[in-house]
Each structure stands twice: as C-alpha cells, then as structure tokens.
Subunit: 364 residues, 2 copies
C-alpha cells in the first residue's frame, strides 16, 4: 500500500484499495452519477490513504479549461513587474488558478513567441503588457480564437480587450503643477521616450500644443510627458523644449548622461521630474556627481517610489504606482472574463499617489 | 476558412481543409505512422493556414508530461526572488517549458498549499525555496510520487533532492576577514535570525565555538553569522556577542530599531555587516538618523548589492549574489532531472562576489 516509487496513484489503484470497480471509483472521484454513501465514504478514504490526486489534465480535456492563466511581463526582475506579478498570483492562488509567467523584454517578436507558448499550454486567459500599442495582430487573433486578454500598463489601439492602467497623465500633471505653484519656471523632465508612431518629441509637442495628440494608446512615459505639458498649459507657462531630456535607449548609462547634460548647462532647471525609477536613479547620480543640493539647488519629484527614496536625507518625493493592485485587478478581470463572456471591454484606470518628502522647495 | 469566432482549430478542420481523412491529418500532425511527402506537405500547409495549434493537453495525457515546471518562491516581489525567477524563466523559455509561479511568503502551510496546487497542475518538476529545513514531508512525498524537486537558497536536512545555494558562509567570512585585517575589533552584524532548531543565538554561538554546529541545513542568515564567526576565529579575535544584533521578525521597523540600538550604544562597533538587503536599508536609516559618517565613523559592508548602494557617496561595498545564475542553474537541474532520473542528488554552490566601493576604511 506504499506509494513509494509507484508513480502517480490512479483511479484503478483507489478502486482496488476500496474494493470497488474502477467505474464506481471514477464516479465518486469525478463527482457524477450515483453511488451510495457508504461506497462514497470508502472510496474517499482510499483516495486519501493512497494520496490520490485528481487528474486535472483529463478533466481539462473535458471542460476545455486548464485553470491556468498566462502572463507576458516585460521583465519579472524589474520592481514594476515583480509587484504586478505578486498581485496577479495572490488573486489566482485564492481561486486555485495557476499563473504561467513569461518575459517579453519589451520586444515584439519575443512577446509573439511568449503568447504562442502560452496558447500551446492552453491557458484560459492572458495578461499582457503589450510591446506594440499599434499593430498587435497576434493579440487580436488570440482573442478571436477564444482566449481572452487583459492588457496592463498600456492599451493597444482598437484592441477589443480589457485593460488596467495607471493614471500616468493626471498624476504627472499634479506633480508638475505643484512645482509650478511653488514658483518653478524651469522644470526639467527626464524620460525614456523611445517609441511614438507620430515621430519625435518635437512633433509630439507640436501636436500637444495643437491639441491633436491621441492620448489613449500612448506608452506611460509619453503619458507622463503629456501630464507635464498639461500642467504648464494650465499655468500659462510655455514649455521650454530643451528641458525635455529624452533618453532614447532604456539604459542606466544613457539616462545618467542625459541627466548630467540637462543639469550641467548654464541655464539649468530649478526642478526636475524623472519619469520612472531608472531615470530617478540617473538623476541622483548626476546630482551627486555635480554636488547639487536637494532641494536648495534643485527640487526633485520622481515617478515610482523606490525604497532608497525614503532613507536618503532629505527623502525624495515620489509617485507611488498601485502595482500589486494593478496585478490584482488584472487577475480579477481575466478570471471574470473567463467565467462569462461579457460583451464590452472594461478599461480600469488606477490612481497613483504622491508621497511628499523633503526634496521639493519653493523656487528661489 | 476564417478562424474568426470559430474557437480552436481542430485536427478535423485541418483534415477537411487539406482534403484528407482525420486519421491521416492526425498522423502527420502527431508525427507518427506513415504518410507520403505530398500529403504531409498539404496537411502542414493547411495547419498553418488555419492557425492550428497542437493540443498539448491531449499530448500530455499520452506522454505524462505537461512541459511545465512549478516554482515556489518566498515572494516574487522581492528583488531576490524576482531575479531568481528571471533566471528560471530564461532557461525554460529556450526549451518551450512553461513556468508556473507561486509564493509561500516563507510560511510552511502556504508552501504546502502551493506544492499541492502545482502537483494538481501536473507540473513535471518543482523548484522550491523550502520554508522548513527540518521536516518537509510534503517535499519528500512529492519526490516519491515521481515529481522531482530542486531546492534553492537552503537545503532541507536529508531530503533526496538537488539543490542550488550561494556560498553564504565563505563570502561572509571573506568580508569580515577584510574588516579584521583593517584593524577593526568591534564588528557588528545585523541579521534576521529567526529560526534555528537548536535554540537562540547564544546557544548557536556556544555550538559554533565548540565546533558542533551542523552547517548544512542552516538558513542563509545563520550561514552568514557562521562566516562572521569563522573570520573571528581565524584572526584569533573573540566575538563580543553584544555585537550580534538579532532581528527576530522580518520587518523594516524591527530592523531599523535593532540597528539604532546597536549603533547608539557607548561602545558601538567601528564596522557593520548587515546580512541582507532589508538589514542594509535599516542600517542606512540608523546611520543617517544618528549622523554617522561612512566610512570615518563606521565602515560598512552589506550582504546583497542593491541599486542605491552604487549611487550613494561614498558607494557602499556589498556582496552580490549570482541570482539569475541561481535561477538558471535550478532550471537546468530540474529539466535534466525530468529528462533522466539521475541517481544521486546534486548540490551546487554558487560563488557570490564582493563589490568594493568606498564604505570601508581602516579602523582608527
């Protein structure tokens, strides 16, 4: 009766142990058809004694459900995706759903490959941070084939799928508006601004000023630049485009170089808004190297609240994204969507919060 | 012929499209039995045209393999597990293996639940950071039922399973030996020392001094304390046990309080070795609050190399664990173990490296 080395316990093993037919054991363990209380009891005791585990694979073939969801993250190693994944897995765990994780490294061909792998694993639904907000035909095909998709962090133009994003634009507007209220007139923004279908930053700002930017499917860093522009417009302060430090490649070196360039000019900004965690670290690098005092020489408020921001003196004010909540919401949406085919996609926008610390002061 | 709204393409659909029997299409797509080159070509073209995806579920029922592995992490949100997971998923991706992720929060009952979920998903193997290094009978049963296990970060006593760990003890000895060579005689260690079956820190140190500690199945923080003691013994410097700041609960608040206590006494240490990232942040907190200068008032070398350590001035010297390599090694071991049942468990120990920055100076 030992299970040692015997491989997986089968229904036949349970039946033999309980002294019933395999069909009877199958009925009891599958929870269908008739069997007496006494038999049911005996089969269940045998199942427990032998450590029988239901064959979810076989059940999946019948139900068409694997009770797993797939996640295509940019990079699970980054604090952003690590926290989102935590939120997703917490919700999934409570429902006994497995979470299969892949990385796209924000590269479209790798995302396509990851989606393909997850579809082959027959996940019941997908949570994706899409790399390409314009033409993601593989996601369209995924949905058409019956596998629902929830987009996180950004939205593919015209894709018929739920989404969960952060209110990047409005919280950025709020941060920059604060700086403007404190008298700052030269506010720098340091951001990865890599992909915009309409062209470069100049073209983007032209459209922003003309009010013709389509905001919906922008990547977060562009949304944040939009909020920066919104605040300036609301305050009647023109944007000096030389204060928009664009980091074309998402690398620490490129970001540090851009920060140093921005902060070492003769007419340097009196306040700085690094638009994500990497930019914030690069800004701190440049600030330390140039020997600038925060907030006396430079006010600083960053997007993304990282651990070190609270133990520097002064603490660095920062926008905290609700990352585990984002993951939890995405998981809830995909599980709802799997359970019933709601008609219209839902788009949820979550509020980020600002942690005010000592790095912002009135302009001198 | 459009797949729109039609759900998943079946072998029958492909057969109809190719004008062959379902059995023939099944043979070609399953890669078994005879079929002519021309037929094979036609079926494959139809499969591609219809976006046919092989039913891996059905195949899994035949092969007994799901081509997925399960991971029980402590918390994927922590930089440690996020990096390990990245390593695991990189290796898995190249072989088309899915990675199902769960968190134990370092709690045994949750680990047991997670293992159960993963076994129900019929993963082919498990990578686990075990919560309990003494009596993990659920892991023993998992292995006996035919599902191999690779342990990471720590080793369960007597468990017949591969492991990948970091050389916590020897790299800690190296760090503390450096401080001793520089003339430091009062070296503090700040560590989470929660679980040791033999009792408290005092009892542990008694055993260390008597040379009767069993080192193999210790949690990393205990291993690091052991390295700290090793270095003292090698240098002939007795350990002042009041310099061992034990943080009983893994919380930032408790760690900061312990660090403040250690550093504000009359006879405070001249050097400090925080034994993980949380302890390092707590140490920085206390150092900043007390206005101590690093390295003039206090030399500092930390376990775990975090981003902020390189952009503080002076930079903080730190031990970098090879975390993605740890994940890659664990994934390689489990895939090997799944592919063939090697007899003996393999125990791999990876070398951590020390990044020397400006936070260590000779004792004054």
């Amino acid at each position: 009766m030992s299970e040692r080395g015997a491989g997986k316990t089968t229904i036949a093993d349970v039946a033999r142990h309980a002294g019933v037919s395999t069909a009877t054991a199958g009925r009891v363990l599958g929870g269908y058809g008739y069997s007496s209380d006494a038999i049911r009891e005996r089969v269940k005791e045998s199942a427990a004694a032998l450590g029988y585990r239901p064959n979810l694979l076989a059940r999946s073939l019948i139900t068409g459900r694997t009770r797993t969801i797939g996640v295509v993250a940019g990079d699970v190693q980054s604090p952003f995706y690590a926290s989102v994944l935590r939120g997703i897995s917490d919700v999934a765990r409570l429902q006994g759903i497995g979470v299969v994780v892949t990385n796209s490294d924000e590269r479209l061909e790798r995302e396509i490959e990851a989606v393909q792998l997850l579809l082959e694993k027959q996940v019941d639904g997908l949570i994706v941070a899409p790399c390409d907000v314009l033409g993601s035909s593989h996601l369209r095909r995924t949905i058409e084939s019956g596998c629902p998709v929830v987009q996180i962090d950004r939205i593919v133009k015209g894709l018929d799928a739920d989404s969960v994003t952060v209110d990047n634009r409005s919280v950025s507007r709020e941060c920059v508006a604060d700086l403007l209220r404190l008298g700052h007139r030269r506010i720098g923004i340091l951001a990865e601004l890599e992909r915009w279908e309409g062209g470069d930053v100049d073209r983007f700002m032209d459209r922003v000023e003309a009010g013709t930017v389509e905001a919906e499917s922008l990547f977060p860093s562009w949304q944040r630049l939009l909020g920066y522009a919104d605040a300036h417009r609301a305050a009647g302060v023109p944007v000096d485009r030389r204060l928009i430090a664009r980091v074309g490649i998402y690398s620490a070196g490129a970001a540090s170089a851009a920060a140093a360039r921005l902060l070492s000019g003769p007419d340097r900004p009196t306040a700085l808004f690094p638009a994500d965690g990497l930019m914030a670290a690069a800004a701190m690098d440049a600030i330390t190297a140039l020997g600038l005092d925060v907030p006396d020489d430079l006010s600083l408020i960053c997007f993304d609240d990282l651990d070190w921001m609270s133990f520097l003196k002064p603490g660095i004010s920062a926008v905290a994204q609700p990352l585990t909540a984002l993951g939890e919401t995405a998981a809830t949406l995909i599980l709802d969507r799997i359970a019933d085919g709601r008609e219209r996609p839902e788009h949820r926008s979550l509020n980020a919060t600002v942690a005010h610390r000592g790095s912002v002061a009135p302009a001198r």
